[in-house]
Amino acid sequence: MAAVEVPRDEQAFLAYVQAGGQVEAGDWLPADYRAKLVKFIEMHGNSELMGVLPEREWILRAPTLQRKLALTAKVQDEVGHAQLIYRVVEDLGKPREQCLADLVSGRSKFHNVFHYPTKTWGDVGVIAWLVDAAAIISQKALLKCSYAPYARIMKKICWEESFHILHGRDVILTLVTGTPAQFELVQEALDRWWGPLMQFHGNPIPAGEDPMFLWRIKSQGNEEARQQFLEGYVPQIRELGLTVPDPKLRRRDDGVWEYTEPDWDELMHVVTGHGPMTEERLAFRRRFLEQEQWVRDAVLAA
């Protein structure tokens, strides 16, 4: 019996991955699969890297030594994830330098949530708890990615993200059981982050029309991910006495969550580089990328 061979024909390849087949870096990949894969994975790497910027300010402002250490470790993980992810992209043929150049020039994208400002310590808790929870749902749907090198790094990424959620929940619990002003910090942050959180998983394109799902790059459609987030986290938010700022939010008898339709135009506007903090953050990255080019030349070049 010969080893299973990856088919070298797009239709057969599609059937192969839909039956659970996986491929490696050296296998034949249909051009469309390869292009979509690189774009998807690159956007993930970009998001991990850009997510660092709103959070690093709060490392410097952390109000206890323990929080400073935990937050530094969380952000360190995100940089580490970016490293893992860009390595996968590099092995697919796109050099890291090109990925970073495309990021800082605005040619490539990163997730909506990282285009928004952080304003208080309340944001730190909400991001670590809820944004990371939304992310982990997406990331778990990548554990069986048809592209095996990406599936493999997702295991480490998901493991590390679980620490972040613990940290976030701890920050939130401490604040909601603190002074009334501290409780307000959380509520106010939640009010600002709910919109971006609802947009996070993307517009409700049916799984059967979503190329990412068809190619089994991810194993779940956008709406399924969002429903999973609501099912898991709305009860947890409410049991702390917090209010979710959507009057239409309710769970139907059949278990489906109804909510105010997110502003999909806003999502498109933001991810195409027009978020409130997009330009400032990209400029910050660009500044250090350019400033430290000499270091890479001294260390990495021949």
């Binding site: 490392i59 109000p63 360190q76 490293q83 890291r96 310590w121 002003a181 910050f284 990255r285 890479r296």
Partner: protein
């Protein structure tokens, strides 16, 4: 003794704070991750030393007025370029090795024991600093950065330990920038470091 230990703890706190400014913007991603571990270790060392001196390490770390901090000017400087940052790391670890070695001989076992633990962790900091020093020693930028920071580095150590530092790094002793007068940069750092903490009454949980 308390002044010496407080100086050590404040140095580690502030250099850990400065090093954590590189999170996300280090020259390469692999280094970003490694550098962040060093920053966390420094904060961890600060905490451990504060805990020798008090029951409430956070209060000691964050709630003193500016003039009661005992950190050396070297660690206070804001150095957002890699040449200076690495030069500081290298000089600081060389200085720290000498001061920690002296503390390992301390009559008080808690101090000696903690110093030994810190030293075992700083073995890796020294390897990291030496690795970069080797790689960058031919770069004029690095050479200039070391020259800029050398007077400050001498000020990290008590007078009697400076000759050894000079010998180890291969530089002649110069007029040091002494501990005792803070740079304006410390005030800026302290403001940012304590702004969240100061936003709630003393004793609030975070």
């Amino acid at each position: 003794m308390n002044e010496l230990l407080l100086g050590l703890a404040d140095d580690e706190l502030v250099i850990g704070w400065r090093d954590s400014e590189w999170t996300g913007i280090a020259p390469m991603l692999e280094e970003d991750v490694a550098f962040s571990s060093i920053a966390q270790n420094e904060i961890g060392h600060a905490r451990a030393v504060y805990e020798l001196l008090t029951d409430d390490a956070d209060a000691l770390a964050f709630d003193r007025p500016l003039e009661e901090y005992r950190c050396a000017p070297l660690v206070e400087l804001r150095l957002l370029d890699w040449a200076h940052t690495i030069a500081r790391r290298w000089l600081y670890e060389e200085a720290d090795r000498i001061r920690i070695a002296a503390l390992m001989d301390d009559a008080e076992s808690a101090v000696a024991g903690l110093a030994a633990k810190i030293d075992r962790e700083e073995v890796y900091h020294r390897m990291h600093a030496e690795m970069w020093h080797e790689r960058l020693r031919g770069e004029p930028r690095f050479h200039d950065a070391v020259a800029d920071l050398w007077p400050y580095a001498l000020g990290v150590l008590p007078r009697e330990q400076r000759a050894e530092l000079a010998r180890r790094v291969g530089l002649d002793e110069v007029e040091p920038v002494e501990r005792g007068t803070h740079t304006p940069e410390l005030a800026e750092l302290w403001n940012e470091m304590t702004m969240v903490r100061r936003s709630a009454p003393a004793g609030a949980q975070w």
